[in-house]
Symmetry: none
Subunit: 144 residues, 3 copies
Amino acid sequence: MEAAGGPAVAMDGYPSPVPAFLTKLWTLVGDPETNHLICWSPNGTSFHVRDQGRFAKEVLPKYFKHNNMASFVRQLNMYGFRKVVSIEQGGLVKPDRDDTEFQHLCFLRGHEHLLEHIKRKVGPLLPAQLQPLFPSQPQPQSQP
Amino acid sequence: MEAAGGPAVAMDGYPSPVPAFLTKLWTLVGDPETNHLICWSPNGTSFHVRDQGRFAKEVLPKYFKHNNMASFVRQLNMYGFRKVVSIEQGGLVKPDRDDTEFQHLCFLRGHEHLLEHIKRKVGPLLPAQLQPLFPSQPQPQSQP
Amino acid sequence: MEAAGGPAVAMDGYPSPVPAFLTKLWTLVGDPETNHLICWSPNGTSFHVRDQGRFAKEVLPKYFKHNNMASFVRQLNMYGFRKVVSIEQGGLVKPDRDDTEFQHLCFLRGHEHLLEHIKRKVGPLLPAQLQPLFPSQPQPQSQP
DNA sequence: TCCGTTCTAGAATATTCGCTT
DNA sequence: GAAGCGAATATTCTAGAACGG
């Protein structure tokens, strides 16, 4: 598809665009102005959202056309991000710390070019893709 | 403001079959507050938008998550509305009046119930229609 | 095709004409009289349109036979220009500062001769693709 | 034939709601 | 109960198509 290490370039000469959500997320996480609400994890392999309420109402509408945490999470899932469940959060001790962590293998601090490898999940699956349309019909190639 | 993308909810709590765009458009056209920018035609079979620039920047963001006339027109076309081209606008006489008219057979003043007959056009072509069901790549066992 | 760096010259010896839209656009962007509404980007690799409403009504009719931003954008796309999207836009608050940016790889300040490389897109459906070049039915009256 | 203007549609991402696991 | 997903509408950018010059 593309040369390793180089920017993806389409046939028309323009670079393959990274979806707006990913560039905004990258900016958002790294922005020192909002690091108290969203920031990289110490080792730069995931990011944290603190105080969902304030994050949703104060930060999200500056980058997106909504102010809902749920919509933000839906986008994260659409791009393959997964919530990181820590022992503390998953344990019996109720975490009163409003801290949510998300992760993606290609979302790493200092490696912005890896964003090009994060692909948005494509639309709905078709019934034709789930089962053969004509099961009784033999394949055209299969001829002894 | 109503949530974009979600189904409209009537006062009884049950989902209305009319998409949010249509109910908003209905309110928008009939609202006396904005009749100087968008209003019914005299006979109530179409509506006019005057001064696209002001309409887009002042009225649209109060109902939608954007302020672009083009996005508004795209939605109108998605729901089957057609632009009404008058002789005056198409003629040689330069119409400096910024006046755009749209029409739909089921968008009639005083007949809000007809909105239920306006259907949004379905999405793009299905992937199964874009690629052959039986690709032309030959099987390995094919021998000349 | 043509010598690198030199003007495009057809076989008949005349220079290949640049469509009117491109020369007008070049003049338009560089004209100091209208730099408050349309101007080069600082590095000269793209151009900005500010205040679409005023630009459409005041500037466009001085160069073209219309005053619609949509028609201007259609032409830009016909010639391969792409809109440049910034992450600043798309927010819910402070909708935007009405700034649209377009770019073409061969539309560079100080390199007017590159305009000759910008080609208008041609219709996708060619008549030759709709019917066989050599029909099986020979014409009776075919004469050399 | 090619270019210009207009109106509409395609295609991809974005936002929301409800369901599933 | 919550994380993830399907589906419908919404928003954006680009292209198709018709018509005329």
